[in-house]
């Protein structure tokens, strides 16, 4: 508890994320962040591009900005390592993992396998409450103009529908895959352009769920993922020149932060 804390906002991009997270926690703003909070914060920072691929994450810095010691930071990094967000070379700290076009394609391929299966299994078991919440999310997404918030609502929409399937392994895998896909920062941009068409898909999916038509729901989900894949992969090709044959685009940024 230093007097310098309020006097030095020290507004790094990550610091802003931390402040935002603290606010969203609601309660006493001076409480210590849990390791799980830190996992979420770091994950979000990586997904949103605050920590770009290849960036070294120094434990003491993170600890300072999070207001904890480095022990919970290190534990959070272990979790993120397991989820494929960072690498932890021994005695050399943590580095944000690189992403390649091949991995992006692979993540989509796997989603195309897993999601229709989840949807099909879920339809017969969907509760009224779940359908209601899903419908609300569709409406909120239609209004949403912030890419990150839209992305969150979108994830939640699918999660709500899928978790009725009661297939925890598939859900765990899907969560991991979505993390990979969301990490493509352009994804968030493309999301916005894709907004309208995506919302249409969502309505189709929701309708099929309401009717209890598992086949149709699974088909709509497959089309949905396929559509997103096309847009995102296309955008990737556009942004990275052409075929995306290169993978190491890392030139050192002049100024960090």
């Amino acid at each position: 508890m230093s007097a310098a804390e309020p006097a030095a906002p020290a507004l790094t991009p990550f610091g802003r994320l931390v402040a935002e997270h603290r606010r969203s926690l609601g309660s006493g703003a001076d409480e210590r962040l849990s390791t799980d909070d830190i996992v979420q914060l770091l994950q979000q920072a990586i997904i949103r591009g605050v920590f770009a691929p290849g960036r070294a994450l120094r434990q003491d810095d993170l600890a300072l900005e999070l207001g904890v010691s480095k022990i919970p930071v290190r534990e959070a990094l272990r979790t993120l390592e397991a989820y494929g967000f960072v690498e932890l070379p021994h005695n050399r700290g943590a580095v944000v993992k690189e992403l390649t076009l091949a991995q992006l394609r692979e993540a989509f391929d796997l989603r195309q396998m897993v999601e229709p299966l989840l949807m099909r299994a879920a339809v017969a078991r969907l509760s009224e409450a779940a359908l209601k919440e899903a419908a609300e999310l569709v409406e909120r997404m239609a209004q949403e103009r912030n890419a990150w918030t839209f992305s969150r609502l979108n994830s939640r929409f699918h999660q709500i529908l899928y978790e009725a399937a009661d297939m925890p392994l598939s859900m765990q895998i899907l969560t991991m895959l979505q993390g990979y896909i969301q990490r493509m920062s352009f994804m968030q941009l493309s999301m916005m352009g894709f907004n309208r068409s995506s919302n249409e898909d969502h309505r189709h999916i929701l309708d099929a769920c309401r009717r209890g038509d598992a086949d149709a729901a699974a088909r709509h989900v497959a089309d949905h993922v396929s559509g997103i894949k096309t847009v995102v992969m296309g955008l990737y090709a556009q942004l990275h020149g052409d075929t995306g044959a290169d993978e190491l685009h890392s030139k050192p940024p002049r100024h960090a932060n």
Copy 2:
């Protein structure tokens, strides 16, 4: 260096695993175990049933038996939590996760999707060295009489073949799934009974790989996984009394397919 160390063998089952691991490390036996070593040791202990589902893992005890403080133990537990081996309820330590029949089935279903895909993609890229090592593993498996060692060789056989596909996400998922499946202790037993038939499958797979016949290789892998699934699920039903139809038996047990 305390005088008590050599005087107290303290032969808990886990202690034996630790000693075994130390021996397999070869070099100076008095080196401190790394966090990664601890992850492997705990994972192995859970898979082999030394730590049964539901068991509470106390950090101080583990640290003592591993010869480290509880900090690396906690980090290892975080990794294992992410992989689905333990749960970490806040302020209540670590507990070995329970396994259900539904999860076993789900793990097999996912393997049946992922493995043929990996095999198909790998065939064209397999190196001579990989084929040679795979062949050696088949031979060693045929001789092997220890269930755990057999299981390790088996995992390695598939890993060698699949990693040529260069699909790291699928590999990561598959590793997780195999962890789940291996946790069924009876799995190791059934492995032995299944030994002969399994080795036949392996030879077929390897032959197809050598011929560069991707379709055949993928088909053999699918059959292989399917065969194991049948045996393991059947054994589960046998050991757990009845059909295991409690709540998730989606297929009628009247007649076998």
